[in-house]
């Protein structure tokens, strides 16, 4: 055989090998998967094998779904995506799927084009209207900046990140009846501490502790000082939502820290309402430790987002500031454990999951003396649910 032919056959062989090995390995490896397989990393169900019939074929839904079915189950899927992201980085892409990775930390990109000023104004107007309607309740708003703001000096030059400090100020300024809580300066001052997860879009327990201290000065309660807490490193293997997108293994996994008062951590009763006015389950801890063993470890803090959570804590009368209604996004989940040391009755509402009058989930506004709105800037800027306050509270 001619020498030239050897390498031609070699190339043909390799091409054939890859073209056959990948589908065969995919079929073998996915044969064991259940029909409704779930991808923890991507936090979604994999596409099911679509039904094959005249309708699904003629409207092409069979084809689209089959393509997703196949690529969802393709062998080494995450390795392929990681390889693609690596190549994008080599090409000079500064952000992968809206995520900057700088200085060992992943951060979401947030530009003025990522939100609508109109929509933000509608939310603010609804909040202000709500506050004016209930002048007897003390209302507070904590709008926490995201990691990319605090570490803006590490972002690529000219990346166009919008100014969160200004955004927070504008929000607070348009809410004369609600007290804005300055958490920004506290976080900025602590920027050398571990205040944001490296692989997740949330703040860490320590970041939330800074939120707690900032809340204390605005809401006039006495915060427990840092040395009163014992800290448990509950997991060192947390790879969060940002990691799920970039699959960048070069970033150190995060630590989930659980804070408890070293002496007399209060007894709590946590009631989770998934729908309706009756709790679906109750817990005797603020920390849902079953989540430490799965991908979504942030849910260790009071579980996943649900319409309503109630927390009753047994705290000494002299420390008790009473009842608190929290309207929030998931940033609040790591903050609330601290607040339970100062408020004996807390109700947590997630407006994203509430679509009818509050009485339908058993909440009566008269039961609360204080209201805290707790959001992070990115979520708040893109939220379309706060304006529901107009109709769910009558």
């Amino acid at each position: 055989m001619k020498k030239e032919n050897i390498y031609k056959i070699l190339l043909i062989g390799l091409f054939a090998l890859i073209s056959v090995a990948v589908p065969v390995a995919t079929i073998i490896s996915s044969a064991g998967l259940p029909e409704n397989a779930f991808s923890e990393n991507e936090n979604r169900y994999l596409e099911k094998m679509p039904e094959f019939n005249f309708d699904t074929v003629t409207d092409k839904s069979f084809m689209t779904k089959f393509e997703n079915f196949f690529s969802d189950r393709i062998v080494l899927r995450e390795q392929w995506i990681g390889l693609m992201n690596d190549f994008d980085r080599i090409l000079g892409k500064k952000e992968i799927k809206g995520i900057f990775t700088e200085d060992g930390r992943m951060m979401q990109s947030w530009r003025t084009s990522d939100y609508s000023v109109d929509s933000v104004n509608k939310n603010l107007a609804a909040m202000e209207k709500f506050a004016e309607k209930y002048p007897k309740m003390k209302m507070y708003f904590m709008l926490a900046p995201n990691a990319q703001e605090i570490y803006s000096d590490t972002l690529p030059v000219n990346c166009g990140a919008a100014d969160q400090k200004l955004f927070i100020k504008n929000c607070y300024d348009s809410l004369p009846s609600i007290t804005g809580i300055d958490v920004y300066s506290g976080l900025l001052a602590a920027k050398n501490e571990y205040i944001y997860y490296r692989t997740d879009h949330h703040w860490t327990s320590y970041g939330a502790y800074i939120g707690y201290k900032s809340a204390a000065s605005a809401m006039k309660f006495t915060a427990y000082s840092e040395d009163k807490f014992s800290i448990e490193h509950a997991s060192n293997e947390f790879r969060g939502t940002l990691y799920s997108k970039t699959l960048d293994n070069s970033i150190t996994p995060d630590t989930i820290d659980i804070y408890a008062l070293a002496n007399n951590e209060p007894q709590v009763k946590v009631s989770v309402y998934k729908s309706g006015a009756e709790p679906d389950s109750t817990y005797d801890s603020l920390y849902f430790r079953e989540f430490l063993d799965v991908k979504d470890k942030y849910s260790t803090f009071l579980g996943q987002n649900v319409p309503r959570i109630d927390i009753d804590s047994e705290i000494p009368q002299e420390n008790d500031k009473g009842s608190l209604l929290i309207i929030k996004d998931s940033y609040a989940h790591s903050l609330i454990p601290f607040l339970t040391k100062n408020y004996s009755h807390i109700t947590v509402l997630d407006l994203r999951y509430i679509n009818s009058d509050l009485s339908s989930i058993g909440v009566n506004l008269k039961d609360y003396e204080n209201v805290l709105f707790m959001y992070n800037v990115i979520t708040f800027s893109q939220d379309t649910n706060v304006k529901k306050l107009d109709f769910i509270i009558k």
Partner: protein, 480 residues
């Protein structure tokens, strides 16, 4: 189905090729027909019928024409039936919505309700239907009857062989426009050799990489710029945006042609080339001899030359060019942008024929390149914006008439982010990579032998990685 998807590369292609290779020679065309129908139906489960009707009529027209050999009138009737039928399908499925819209615009009222049309009880939505590749397969199929009429090809009596020509999946949706004449001999007798399969795989991987690694990467920039309010786009960004599209469309379309040619080789066919480094052209006439070559050749053979070409004096030549280029614009899509785009190319080509061409020969090459690329780039604005006002505003902004800053931080960020990709694009659309490979081949052959295999397999694996997570994988020449 599209080549740049996981299911094509990992399911359709290996299974089809395996069956194709083990099937004896006589049955191979049937495999081509069946695989082509599956390939096409995957994207057009209903309109596959349109393709089959077109195929059937042209096949029958061919038989009848052959039967009346030597008799002019019946042969001419057959030709007219075939041409009217193919153009009719194009008219109904591609242009009816556009024509109706313009009739409404002229009449100033909705005399044709384009969202609610009904023919013989069948709902008809002219804006929503454009069978994939209809502009390609009608032109291919017509080439058979026209060439048969003119006596350039022999009749194809075997219906499976003729249907295999139309449904040959590598070229079915985006060209190259393979004329019957190009593959007539190979349809009946072709040999598949190691050399051909090797060449085919190399060509396929190169094409796939052009599409997936380069066109998609740079295309993301154009998508961003196009999505911004024009008043927010700096002068530099608007140039970067349209340059990104200039590269995207070249690498996308020529990549697709490379894949088609490569797949053709794997199956024993030699398709005509479709691109010859068009961005190295020194004039617009030359550009169109190097860009989408098979389309230009089709119009030359079946429109320009039958009209008399350049043999009937200058005024008639100009008219013929004008008609040809107007139709070229129309072929690209049912919108005024495309018509203007094609017609303007016609005007420039006429000017080049009259006097501009002679001037261009006198000035240094560098100015010829600048002149050509400037027109091509401005042409792409027309080509890929929603309507004429948008195109006008975009071009105005490129020349500072939009009142936006010359450069802003967004533009600088885009340069930093896409700089490397731009450099790859610039090198990639010249013949430098080819020259480099030839140079190394001559000096140190073993490196190219084994280094080449490693590089190609690396590229194939990278493409595969991108195809797994297809957040951005458009396909530009799909709608033609």
């Amino acid at each position: 189905m599209v080549f740049s998807t996981s299911i094509f590369i990992y399911l359709f292609l290996p299974i089809t090729l395996l069956i194709y290779y083990i099937t004896p020679k006589k049955g191979k065309n049937l495999i081509i027909l069946l695989s082509g129908l599956l390939f096409y139906s995957w994207g057009e489960p209903i309109y596959v019928i349109v393709m089959l009707i077109s195929t059937m009529i042209d096949y029958c027209a061919g038989l009848v024409m052959n039967h009346f050999e030597g008799k002019k009138l019946p042969r001419r009737i057959c030709l007219i039936v075939s041409v009217v039928m193919n153009l009719g399908l194009l008219g109904v499925f591609k242009y009816s919505g556009f024509i109706a819209e313009n009739i409404n615009a002229i009449a100033g009222s909705q005399i044709i309700d384009i969202n609610n049309m009904n023919f013989f009880g069948i709902d008809f939505l002219p804006m929503n239907m454009l069978p994939i590749g209809i502009s390609f397969f009608t032109f291919q199929s017509m080439s058979y009857t026209i060439d048969l009429y003119m006596g350039n090809v022999k009749v194809q009596k075997n219906p499976i062989s003729f249907a295999a020509f139309v449904t040959l999946f590598p070229q079915i949706v985006a060209g190259p426009i393979v004329r019957y004449d190009d593959v007539a001999r190979e349809l009946d007798d072709r040999s598949i050799t190691i050399d051909l399969i090797y060449d085919g795989i190399v060509r396929f991987i190169i094409g796939l990489s052009k599409k997936v690694l380069i066109a998609n990467s740079i295309g993301a920039l154009w998508t961003t710029v196009k999505g911004m309010e024009i008043s927010q786009v700096s002068v530099v960004s608007s140039w970067l945006g349209i340059l990104a599209f200039t590269f995207q469309i070249y690498f996308d379309f020529s990549g697709y042609s490379d894949m088609a040619i490569g797949l053709g080789k794997m199956m024993g066919f030699h398709f005509p080339e479709n691109f010859d480094y068009p961005y190295l052209s020194r004039s617009i006439s030359e550009f169109w001899r190097r860009w989408h070559i098979t389309l230009g050749a089709w119009f030359r053979s079946y429109v320009y030359i039958p009209l008399g070409g350049n043999r009937k004096g200058m005024p008639r030549t100009i008219l013929n060019l004008a008609i040809t280029w107007f139709l070229t614009g129309v072929w690209h899509g049912a919108s005024w942008n495309f018509i203007l785009w094609g017609s303007l190319y016609g005007v420039v080509i006429i000017l080049e024929k009259l006097f501009l061409g002679k001037w261009l020969q006198k000035i240094p090459d560098v100015f010829c390149h600048i002149y050509t690329m400037l027109l091509v780039i401005l042409g792409w604005v027309l080509f890929d914006t929603a309507d004429l006002p948008t195109a006008g505003a975009y071009i105005a902004n490129m020349f500072g008439a939009g009142g936006t800053p010359f450069i802003d931080s967004t533009a600088m960020y885009q340069i930093a982010t896409y700089g490397i990709t731009f450099i790859i694009c610039i090198i990639g659309c010249t013949n430098l990579p080819k020259l480099a490979v030839e140079f190394i081949k001559k000096k140190i052959p073993p490196v190219i032998n084994y280094g080449g295999i490693i590089a190609l397999m690396g590229m194939f694996v990278m493409c595969a990685a991108y195809l797994v997570d297809q957040t951005y994988n458009p396909f530009l020449y799909f709608n033609f």
